[in-house]
Structures are given as C-alpha cells and as structure tokens.
C-alpha cells in the first residue's frame, strides 16, 4: 500500500518537475542559449552550406527547435525500450499487468514519436527547404513510427486476449530490435545522394548543453508521468471490469 502512495506522489512530482524543466528549457533555449553559427567558410556570398544546401541566414533562429526536438526524440527511444522490456517480462511471467504496461509504454512512445516527427519536419522544411528527405535519421524514425502504429494495428486485429498479449509482446521486441538496425543500415550503406546531416553535437558550448539536458530531463519526467497516469487509469478500468465480472457470477 505504501508503495502505491509513493508512486502517486512520484507521478505528481514528475508532472511538476516536467512542467518546470521543460519551461525552463524553453526559456533558456530562446533567451540564453546562443545560436550555433553556420560554418561561414563554406559560404558563397553571405550564405552558409548546411546539409549540402545553401542557407541564406547564417544565424539560424530555427535551430531553437532542436532544444525541443532532440529531447523528445531521445525520450521516445527510452520509452520504446520499455515496450520491449515489458514484452519480454510478459513472455517470461505471463502476468497480464506487463502486457498492459507494454501497451501503455507504446502509446506514450507514439505520442513522443509524433512530436519528434512534427518538430523534425519543421526543421527540415526551414533549413533544408524540403518537407521530407530520405536521410538516415528521418528514415529510421519513419520506420519506427510505422512499427509503433502497426503494433496497435496488430493488437486490434486479434480477439483472443492471451494471444493478443503474446503477439504484441513478440512484435514489440522485434520492433525495438529493428529501430537501431534501420539506423545502422542507413548509415553504413549510404545511398547515392543524401545530404550530410547537420551535426548538433559538433560545437555546443556549456549553456547549449545545459539547455538540452534540462529539456531532456523535463521530457523524461513528463514521459514518466504520462505513462504512470495512463497506467493507473488502465488498471482502474481492469479492476472495475473484474469487479463487474465477479458481481455477475
């Protein structure tokens, strides 16, 4: 009982911490963190070359989106890991709670994946001038989004509860394995003409790193909080169903 109270408090704390940290991250990103200057040595007449594209404004205001985009992307990977982990735990124990946990983790992953896609797309549109480029990170991410969506398609298509749980667990594990493999293959077997990725890690100074870390911690807290709240809701639902069933007997 005590553990449950603790978890409730922890969730509440995570919501507060997430809200505060992401807000602080935002403020830092826009007001404090200096922009990464484009490498003007490559420039031809005032512009800069980034990702093989000529950028007109060397001071890139749109790069602020990275303080949102990168933390969200990292969080989505971390939560997706729990899909696989809980899937594995379910297969080992056949405990239904793990199936619910894996499902909720995948739901939260989907939220963060969609956020990553939207923010990433804004970036590519403004910096590369294109809505979409088949570039390793984008491709990998697109495949991962498909896998997460397909996870729910698979669940929806199986009626038997036990079987649905087993299939979803197996697919979750495979999907989690697939994401890094996609990244690896798009990196190591480059296609003929894709732009060089804009490297974020290249020349970040202390304040930029701090901003990223603050935003990342905030996103992780939020992810955890969303997960916990959804899980509590689902557990309550399951308990009500169980109670209803026992009343009918």
């Amino acid at each position: 009982m005590e553990l449950r109270v603790d978890k409730k408090r922890l969730t509440f704390a995570a919501v507060i911490a997430g809200a505060v940290l992401t807000t602080v991250g935002f403020v830092l990103a826009f007001l404090v963190a200096p922009p990464v200057l484009a490498d003007t040595t490559l420039a031809s007449g005032g512009g800069a070359m980034i990702g093989g594209e000529l950028i007109a404004n060397p001071v890139l205001f749109s790069q602020k989106i990275f303080y949102f985009h990168v933390p969200v992307a990292i969080t989505s990977f971390i939560i997706f890991f729990f899909t696989a982990l809980y899937g594995l735990r379910f297969l080992m124990t056949k405990d239904k709670a793990f199936d619910t946990k894996a499902r909720i983790a995948t739901e939260v992953t989907l939220v963060f994946v969609v956020l990553t896609m939207i923010t990433g797309d804004l970036w590519t549109r403004f910096e590369w001038g294109k809505w979409w480029v088949w570039e390793p990170r984008l491709t990998t991410y697109f495949i991962m989004m498909m896998l997460v969506i397909v996870y729910f398609v698979l669940r929806a298509s199986i009626e038997d509860e036990e079987r649905r749980a087993v299939y979803a667990a197996a697919f979750g594990i495979l999907a989690f394995l697939d994401a890094p493999l996609s990244f690896l293959i798009t990196r190591l077997v480059p296609s003929g003409n894709h732009p060089v990725v804009f490297k974020v890690g290249g020349g970040l100074d202390a304040i930029q790193v701090t901003t990223s870390v603050v935003a990342l911690l905030g996103m992780l807290c939020l992810g955890y909080a969303i997960y916990q709240m959804r899980f509590r809701e689902e557990r309550a639902k399951e308990r009500i169903e169980a109670l209803k069933a026992s009343l009918e007997d």
């Binding site: 297969l91 495949i143 498909m146 896998l147 397909v150 398609v153 698979l154 298509s157 199986i158 009626e159 038997d160 036990e162 079987r163 087993v166 299939y167 667990a169 197996a170 697919f171 594990i173 495979l174 999907a175 394995l177 697939d178 493999l181 996609s182 690896l184 293959i185 798009t186 190591l188 077997v189 296609s191």
Partner: protein, 241 residues
C-alpha cells in the same frame, strides 16, 4: 533393450525437420498452387513495371533501379507465398496436429522457413532471367554473376525466416494477409535495404563497388542473424499462443 526402445520412440529432430519439409514439398508438387500463383504474380509485377517505366524514354538507365525493382517483386510475391503456406496449415488443421505431436517448436519453424525459402528461390530463379530479358537487354551487369546470387540468397533467407514468423502471427489475426504486409514491410526494412544495396552494387559496378557489395552483404547477413535469432527465440511463444 530400453535404449533402442527410447530411440525408436524419440524421432530425431533432423528426421522431424525432413518430414515437415517433405510434406510441404510433396503438397506443392501435387497442387502446384503456390509456385504457379507466386510466379504469375511476379510476372504481373513485371507488367506493372512496364507500365510504370513506359514513359521513361530510351535514355533512361534501368540499371540504376534494377535491383530495387527485382527486390520489390520478390517482396510482394513472398508475402503472397508466405501467407498461403501458413493458411494451408491452419485451414486443414495441420498446424494444430503438428503442435500436438511431440515435435520441437524450433523444428517446425525451421522446416516451414526452409520450405518457404525453397519456393521463394524457385520463383526468383524464374523471375530474374525474365526481368533481365525484358528490361535489361543491352545493359550488362557490371559485377560477376555470383554476387547477384549471394546477395539474393542473403536477402531471401531473411525474408523467409522473419516472414514465416510473421505469417504464423497473421493467420491467427483478422485480415491475415493485410496484417502480414503491414508487419512485414517495416520490420524487413533494414534487411531489404541491405539486399538492394548489395545487388545494386553488383549491377552498377563503378569504383569501389566490390567494397560496397561486401559491406552490404555483410550487413545483410548480420541483420539476418540478429532477426532470425530473435524470431527463433520468440516462435515457441507465438505458435503455442
């Protein structure tokens, strides 16, 4: 003689494997259903390619996309075949009987996968020359022929293994073949990309293509190994659920 009796009762895994594989091949030889439908489907895919490329003009170098087109045909035909191979098992209650018999689950998986691999390879052997004659005439491939064969083999092993696993899931889901395709394509993405890169290197040539070929095939083999290991470990849960 307790040892001999035990040996007689316990049929070795290898014999179980051979029995399941033989069953699939004998059934196919009698009905010829899968091979005809898969080959026909592959041919029709080539017709669709003709439509798609009909306006590309004579200056267009088909070799740039030849590997991709061929693999696309394999992907679609293999999904058709994989679905059929498991639907048969399910409809005729064969899968249940197999599960009731004291056969190890991995043996079922390997036998079905190898069966599917054989059918896929036969279709590939039929399709590739037709593709070469229909689309590649006058444009020779740069690399040696064994490179095409090797990259084809590496890609097909992945398709057959992971595909058999996913088809086993799909037959128990509503809308089986649809589910198979939506599971199959994103999950096979890395393996297919490696296969296309390998075959493409062999077709196109150019500086450093041998290096590129080995890198792609090596990656493809590695991805196959990881995915097949995972699928092998998970098959027991899937097939008994």
């Amino acid at each position: 003689m307790p040892d001999a009796a035990a040996a007689a009762r316990r049929v070795s895994s290898w014999r179980q494997f051979k029995a399941i594989l033989r069953k699939d091949i004998v059934m196919e030889l009698r009905t010829k259903e899968m091979l005809t439908s898969m080959s026909l489907y592959a041919l029709l895919t080539l017709v669709v390619y003709q439509i798609a490329l009909s306006q590309s003009g004579s200056g267009f170098d088909i070799r740039l996309i030849a590997a991709g087109l061929v693999w696309l045909a394999f992907v679609f035909t293999s999904m058709l075949g994989l679905n059929r191979s498991l639907v048969h098992e399910k409809d005729q209650g064969c899968l249940e009987a197999l599960l009731l018999s004291p056969v190890d689950r991995p043996v079922i998986f390997f036998a079905k996968s190898i069966g599917n691999l054989i059918f896929l390879l036969i279709v590939e052997i039929i399709t590739v020359p037709i593709f070469a004659v229909a689309f590649m005439s006058g444009r020779p491939i740069a690399g040696p022929f064994w490179m095409i064969v090797l990259s084809g083999l590496v890609g097909s092993i992945g398709i057959a293994g992971v595909g058999t696993f996913l088809a086993t899931m799909a037959v128990n889901a509503r809308g089986g073949s649809f589910i198979l395709s939506v599971l199959f394509i994103p999950l096979m993405y890395p393996a297919l990309l490696a296969a296309v890169a390998g075959t493409s290197a062999a077709v196109l040539g150019g500086p450093g293509y041998v290096d590129m070929f080995w890198r792609s095939v090596g990656m493809g083999a590695g991805i196959d190994a990881i995915m097949l290991l995972a699928v092998y470990g998970l098959y027991e849960f899937i097939v008994s659920a």
